[in-house]
């Protein structure tokens, strides 16, 4: 093993870390709705960070676009979010995303002064579980077809005031329809253009 002085090695490791961070930052700077069907961007509140500071944050898709998509194919580190400040790295924690609406990330300010960051999520009306090929789908009113047995599920956010969404599948003559109820609003998704 080649001997390297510790300060030099440490600083080199930091430089490599920043290179990696910038690589991930580049990946995350794509539009939040890229590749997400029936999507709208939902912008979160701007948060202030001190220099060289890390915070963990959980953000949620809400309203009539309650589904957060993570379309990543490698280790679950997706890019269906964006942020507005290059001082930051935003590293998604897919294993903490245990609710259909939840985005979880570790956010670090690598600049040498206070900075603000605003995160935008790509939020969909279509659950990631809807099996439409090539992301071709459309949103329709509830056709009130027969509900497929065993498909009714309720997902609630954790905490003292849970927010819940209900999902179910209906079988119509034209094919399967996938429905969601959120805050008394009901909509459905069918596959096809």
């Amino acid at each position: 093993m080649t001997a390297i002085s510790r300060p030099a090695a440490t600083q080199l490791a930091v430089v490599l870390g920043i290179v990696m961070a910038l690589a991930y930052a580049g990946a995350a700077s794509a539009a939040a709705c890229d590749g997400v069907p029936q999507c709208e961007p939902q912008t979160q509140a701007s948060i202030r960070y001190s220099a060289w500071e890390t915070k963990g944050w959980a953000y949620y898709c809400t309203g009539d676009h309650p589904y957060y998509w993570n379309t990543a194919q490698v280790l679950g580190f997706g890019n269906n979010f964006s942020f507005d400040n290059k001082c930051f790295t935003v590293t998604e924690n897919p294993f903490a995303e245990d609710e259909p609406s939840k985005f979880d990330a570790t956010i670090t300010n690598f600049c040498f002064k206070h900075e603000n960051i605003t995160v935008t999520l790509g939020c969909s009306q279509q659950s990631t579980g809807v099996p439409c090929k090539n992301n071709t789908s459309k949103v329709v009113k509830d056709p009130n077809c027969p509900i497929v047995s065993g498909t009714q599920k309720t997902f609630c956010s954790q905490g003292p005031v849970p927010a819940c969404i209900q999902v179910w599948e209906e079988q119509c003559a034209s094919g399967a329809v996938y429905c969601t109820a959120d805050e008394a609003v009901i909509w459905c998704v069918t596959c096809g253009p």
Binding site: M1, A23, Y24, A51, W52, G56, W57, A58, P66, K113
Partner: protein, 166 residues
């Protein structure tokens, strides 16, 4: 033209960094965790209170918890409650040393519970601020901060960060 897969580059850089870190330990012949604790945290640097506890919180008042001092290897759990006038807890912030890790571990309608741990070889202190409202907290509309800590800054760029840098 040669094309390089971005994931491969990231993986290569990661492996290089790991080898480098291992080589440091090898050269020094010392425990890596001890090295991190002794030489990487700037135990004098304070992360200041940025007022995040009331961002986006309707009719918010900021409630300060007590100053908590953590010795080496100590972990403490602390609950901060909201007053009757503004009973519902929303967001939170801290003033804390870089080497402390503060984490939200529980939430009721009127109080937030935190764990605080010390990751270095010197004592540190933290004060927690909770944003309290007259309206119920709604996690899906506002999100929830989970943790706060400093990036290990000692010996990296001391001429820029310095002690107590903000």
């Amino acid at each position: 033209m040669l094309r390089v897969n971005g994931d491969i580059v990231k993986a290569a850089v990661t492996v290089a960094a790991m080898v480098l870190a291992w080589s440091v330990t090898e050269v020094e012949g010392r425990n890596a965790r001890a090295l991190l604790h002794e030489h990487v945290f700037d135990t004098e640097r304070l992360l200041d209170h940025t007022g995040s506890e009331c961002v986006g919180v309707p009719d918010c008042v900021s409630v300060e918890g007590p100053v908590t001092v953590l010795g080496v290897d100590q972990i403490r759990v602390l609950a901060v409650s909201c007053p009757d006038s503004h009973p519902f807890g929303w967001h939170w912030d801290t003033e804390q040393h870089e080497h402390l890790h503060v984490r939200l571990v529980g939430r009721t309608r009127t109080a937030l519970t935190f764990s605080m741990s010390n990751r270095a070889d010197a004592a540190g202190q933290s004060r927690i601020f909770v944003g309290c409202s007259t309206q119920l907290f709604d996690v899906t509309r506002s999100g929830s901060q989970q943790s706060r800590s400093g990036v290990r800054s000692k010996s990296q760029f001391p001429w820029l960060l310095g002690g107590g840098a903000r």
